[in-house]
């Protein structure tokens, strides 16, 4: 959360960024804009009572998912916590299946079973979407273990919040990652707060949260999340370390969320000042900064910006329509997707009673 203090470095010249074509850069822009549009639509219809439960918006943090995941190849896997919409769209999930999931419709990515916190797309190497703080951190380790076990050159990106670093499961995972040389990258998306608790009220640390890596003899870095070039440049190094050396890394990416912890969080202007929020919006917004950068580079034009924004809005609106029109899940669907064996009607599933509803 010390974005303001970071020295201004320019990562545009890093090889991984120099390799980007103009189209690639525009595509990164489009992805971030689409995430924001999707969530703005979600927010609107959540407030209209169309969804239940929580809605944890990613708005303000888009560069993290888009920047890091833009570097991923077919053997790179990823997993995150409940603030999972940005990653979902970044890996290529459609707005339709995501919006329908928020609505709790049968056409949702999880058939309406998971909701906002539980988007999954294993076909896109995206393993969710997890609601228990830091509960996904050993799973991310396991993805890395699986990659190494199968002899694949890949990495597992495991995202988490700044509040999650104080869960035991994360610590256990760090030690195993370093001890077993597993290709996992823990990405701390440090937005400065865990619900209403500022980082300094939840964690004791020296330097930064990522630096705890040293206690495990592990590499780490801190990243200015509002600069997409920096996110990519530093993540690339960690990815290569994972893929080629099977070595883990902690990356702490400083970022910010503009809305409350979840939309039910009406307190969010109490635990931080309106000025703080405004400052981020004005001076550190990752989409805005990337837009300016590409405009300056001559890669984007004002017309293109408008076109991309409009298209994203339309896509989001269409996904709302898709979700609205989709059928609710049937009550019977409550009882499927519990066991693989019963879902697949295997001989094993016919032996003994599996379900105990009176």
């Amino acid at each position: 959360m010390s974005i303001a203090d970071s020295p201004v470095l320019d990562f545009a010249g890093s090889p991984i960024n120099k390799a980007l074509s103009a189209d690639d850069k525009i595509e990164l822009y489009r992805k971030m804009v689409r995430i924001r549009s999707f969530e703005q639509a979600a927010l609107k219809y959540y407030n209209a009572g169309k969804m239940g439960g929580f809605l944890h918006l990613y708005i303000g943090q888009e560069s993290v998912a888009v920047g890091t995941l833009s570097l991923c190849g077919p053997n790179d896997h990823n997993i995150t916590a409940y603030r999972c919409h940005g990653h979902a769209l970044a890996v290529g999930m459609s707005m339709n299946e995501c919006m329908a999931e928020l609505y709790g419709k049968a056409t949702g990515c999880s058939k309406g079973k998971g909701g906002s916190m539980h988007f999954f797309a294993p076909d896109k190497n995206y393993w969710g979407g997890h609601g228990i703080v830091a509960g996904q951190t050993p799973l991310g380790l396991g993805l890395a273990y699986g990659l190494k076990y199968k002899g694949l050159e890949g990495a597992a990106l495991c995202y988490m919040g700044d509040g999650a670093v104080n869960q035991g499961a994360y610590h256990e995972s760090l030690n195993i990652a370093a001890l077993f040389d597993l290709p996992v990258i823990y990405v701390i998306e440090n937005n400065g707060y865990s619900m209403g608790t500022s980082q300094k009220r939840s964690s004791s640390f020296r330097g930064c949260l990522a630096q705890r890596a040293e206690g495990y003899d592990m590499d780490w870095d801190v990243v200015n999340g509002s600069d997409l070039y920096e996110v990519r440049a530093k993540t690339h190094i960690a990815l290569e370390r994972a893929r080629k050396q099977h070595k883990p890394t902690i990356l702490e990416i400083n970022t910010y969320r503009y809305y409350g912890h979840s939309i039910a969080d009406a307190n969010h202007k109490k635990y931080r000042t309106p000025e703080e929020i405004e400052n981020y919006k004005k001076n550190h917004d990752p989409i805005h900064l990337w837009e300016n950068r590409l405009l300056a580079e001559g890669v984007l034009t004002a017309e293109k910006v408008t076109e991309i924004k409009n298209a994203a809005k339309q896509e989001a609106a269409a996904s709302v329509e898709f979700a609205e029109k989709s059928p609710a899940p049937a009550v019977e669907s409550i009882m499927t997707d519990v066991y693989w064996e019963t879902d697949n009607n295997t001989p094993a599933s016919a032996i003994g009673r599996h379900f105990f509803t009176d």
Partner: protein
């Protein structure tokens, strides 16, 4: 001498009174202080009682619950909130070993006067990991006590009793009850305490006994109304309130009176409080049963998110009525 309070206000009043009564009482948990609680149960208490008595913790359930247990051995009386009871899963060892067994393993030299509280329920679309209802799970560990109030008055009375009890007491609240209202005795009339181990007959009846706890009690009361109005069936509703200790006498009394039982329990079908109560009834009132004991439980799958069908996964008045009508 009674006022109408919400369940949330009643809990808060109970906490506030106990903070005033005993300087060793300290509230702890994630966001309980400055944020006023994720569900606002502790609203205003930090402002009133300050940093020493109302404490925000990091997201480290094993750490802070274990800390509370350790402090309780020295005489502090921590009342700890799990933002959801479901998060017990990351602190399970502290909850079932350190809290439940230290007294025993020390041959009685130590006691652990802690209270754990927070919501334990499905029905608010938060999905499988956030909807566990662990009353039976914790009641199965000797050394622990468990209760689950259904009304504002019981919520206040039980939280106060829990805080004064010298054993670990796990209080299971319910997000969907926080806003419900009911009469709560005026503090001016004296301390309002509800003992652990005492069930409450929430409705008299003669044809069938509906036995439940927590929000399921409200389903039973609604179902009893329908049964009376539409089917002429007189249902008695027993609210267990406390799971351990358990008011077995009250359970047997209602069964002996009506000879027919439906247990309503938000647990999943395998186990739950209801399986235990069912076993007890057939064991101790076998000759009084005119029909098998039936249950209404949560459909036996992880909790679904979809707001369209989550209500169908849970016990609800319709399912209770249907079950009663199906009794032979």
């Amino acid at each position: 001498m009674s006022r109408i309070l919400t369940y949330r206000e009643a809990l808060r009043e109970g906490l506030d009174e106990e903070l005033a009564r005993d300087e060793n009482v300290v509230l702890m948990g994630e966001e309980v202080a400055q944020y006023n609680g994720a569900y606002k149960v502790t609203e205003g208490l930090w402002a009133k009682w300050g940093d020493k008595r109302v404490v925000d913790t990091p997201i480290s359930e094993a750490g802070f619950i274990g800390m509370g247990i350790g402090a309780s051995m020295l005489g502090v009386r921590p009342v700890m909130e799990l933002m959801f009871w479901s998060f017990h899963s990351v602190a399970f060892d502290q909850l079932v070993n350190n809290a439940a067994c230290v007294r025993y393993m020390s041959g009685g030299l130590i006691n652990v006067p802690i209270v754990m509280r927070g919501p334990a329920n499905g029905g608010n679309n938060v999905g499988a990991t956030h909807c566990h209802v662990p009353e039976a799970l914790f009641a199965s560990f000797p050394g622990l006590k468990v209760c689950a109030p259904a009304t504002p008055a019981d919520a206040k009375g039980l939280i106060k009793t829990a805080i004064r009890d010298n054993d670990p007491v796990y209080v299971m609240e319910n997000v969907l009850l926080y806003g419900t209202t009911g009469e709560v005795p005026d503090p001016a009339a004296g301390d309002h305490l509800v003992p652990l181990g005492k069930a409450d007959l929430k409705r008299q009846g003669s044809d069938v006994s509906l036995i439940a706890h927590g929000r399921s009690v409200l389903h039973c009361l609604a179902a009893a109304e329908t049964l009376q109005q539409e089917h002429g069936i007189s249902a008695e509703v027993l609210d267990l309130r406390s799971i351990r200790p358990l008011d077995v006498d009250a359970i047997l009394a209602t069964v002996r009176k009506t000879n027919r039982v439906v247990l309503v329990d938000e647990s999943k079908g395998f186990g739950g409080v209801s399986a235990m109560v069912s076993h007890l009834i057939q064991d101790e009132a076998f000759d009084y049963l005119d029909a098998p004991i039936k249950r209404v439980t949560t459909l036996d799958a992880p909790a679904i998110y979809s707001p369209f069908i989550e209500p169908d996964q849970l016990p609800n008045p319709r399912r209770v009525v249907e079950k009663v009508l199906s009794l032979r």
